[in-house]
Structures are given as C-alpha cells and as structure tokens.
C-alpha cells in the first residue's frame, strides 16, 4: 500500500517559471514532511522540510505548502533554473512518543523536473 502519492511523474518548465509538485499522504500519524532533491548518480539531498504546526515554509526559492485537513503538501520552486533539473522526492515520517526522533521515511515515487533555458 503506497502511503505517499506524488504527482506529476515528470514536469517540464521554462526558465523563470514556477514548478509545482504535489504529494498526498494517508497515515495521519505522519508529522514530518521533507523534500529531497536527487541528481543522477548522487544520493538524495534534503531540500526543505515542514512539520504540521505550520502551513507554509519558505527557504529561498523553495516553498512547502501544507494542508493538514486534506493530507496534502506541495513543493513550489519559484524562478526555476536549469540547475534545478533533478528528481524530487517527497517523504513523510512520524516521531516517537516524546517527539525527539523521527523514524523511517516513506517516499513518494519521485518527479523528474526539467527546466528548459
């Protein structure tokens, strides 16, 4: 059973445009939602993450929007650049009873982003 569904599978955007990737989750126990960026031949790199006490988090050109009631979260890349071309994964996990650590990540299937110059 896939617990995190990611869309679209691939996305083509012109330079300067906005890239939007969406994820939906099923497990209401999830309380940590990171996005990872992966270039070919490299391991995933943490891009930005959000916890459900806020509805939005912005870091530079990257923004996560979180809708707890809809169990959805999305990544927005503003002013997309050719260097942003990569595969993006959303993920989710949940913390222990004390909220001091997070367990295994459940990943979406990934989105291949291509930004044309």
């Amino acid at each position: 059973q896939q617990q995190v569904k990611q869309s679209p599978q691939s996305l083509i955007v012109q330079k300067g445009g906005i890239s939007i990737i969406n994820c939906a989750y099923e497990n209401t126990a999830f309380d940590y939602f990171p996005w990872y960026q992966q270039f070919p031949g490299k391991g995933p790199a943490l891009l930005i993450a959000i916890r459900p006490d806020v509805s939005e988090k912005k870091e530079g050109r990257f923004t996560i929007s979180f809708n707890k009631s809809a169990k959805q979260f999305s990544l927005h890349i503003m002013d997309s650049q050719p260097g942003d071309s990569a595969t993006y994964f959303c993920a989710a996990s949940y913390s222990n009873a004390g909220g001091t650590s997070y367990g295994k990540l459940t990943f979406g299937q990934g989105t291949i982003l291509t930004v044309h110059p």
């Binding site: 990171p34 990872y36 391991g43 995933p44 943490l46 650590s101 295994k104 990540l105 459940t106 299937q109």
Partner: protein, 113 residues
C-alpha cells in the same frame, strides 16, 4: 564536517554470490537507515538502527538480507545468494544534528549478472 560515506560506489556480482555494502555515518548521529532505490522507482525502506535499541527490520525483502551496526557507528548490509532483482542502488542515511534530519550517502550501485 564529513558527510555519509558508502563503499563500494559500484559493485558487480554474479547471481548467487554474497555481497557486503558498507556505510560510514556522520559522527555523532544516533540513527542509521538503509534504503533501496530500484531503477525508475522511489526509495524503499529496508532497515533502521537507533542507538542500542533492536533494529527495525520491517523493510527487509527476504531473509537473504541482513545488516549490522558495530559500535553504534559503521553499518554493513549483507545480501546473501544475490538475485538479479537485487540490482539497485543501496542508500544509507544518517540521522541527527540540531534539526534531526536524515542525510543520505551517495549510494552503492549493485548489479547482479
């Protein structure tokens, strides 16, 4: 500081052979994870070590897969009697730091011929 390192970066083995994959986590991180990424697929959780607790092995696909973590640091993932469907990139992640984030190594690409 140094990130997560994995070795070897590439491994080609014949079907039926055993392989060992190594992960060196970030110093001081309390937890270590192994994931598998098959061609065109997402990342699949395999096993998780947290401190001295019993590992969470719930993601291991068969009893041919095992892992250990020595001294709370280095971890080795062992695949016995490899099969072609084991071909994938095996990723290790180290967990810790002030924001308690998971940081991935570069992975080991395993090819079973």
């Amino acid at each position: 500081g140094a990130g997560v390192s994995q070795s070897p970066s590439n491994k080609v083995t014949e079907k039926g052979k055993d392989v060992e994959l190594r992960c060196d986590p970030i110093s001081g991180h309390t937890a270590l994870y192994w994931y598998r990424q098959s061609l065109g697929q997402g990342l699949e959780f395999l096993i998780y070590f947290q401190g001295n607790s019993a590992p969470d092995k719930s993601g291991l696909p068969s009893d041919r897969f095992s892992a250990e973590r020595t001294g709370g640091s280095v971890s080795t993932l062992t695949i016995q009697r490899t099969q072609q469907e084991d071909s994938a990139v095996y990723l290790c992640a180290s967990y810790g730091g002030p924001d308690y984030e998971q940081y991935f190594g570069p992975g080991t690409r395993l090819t079973v011929t």
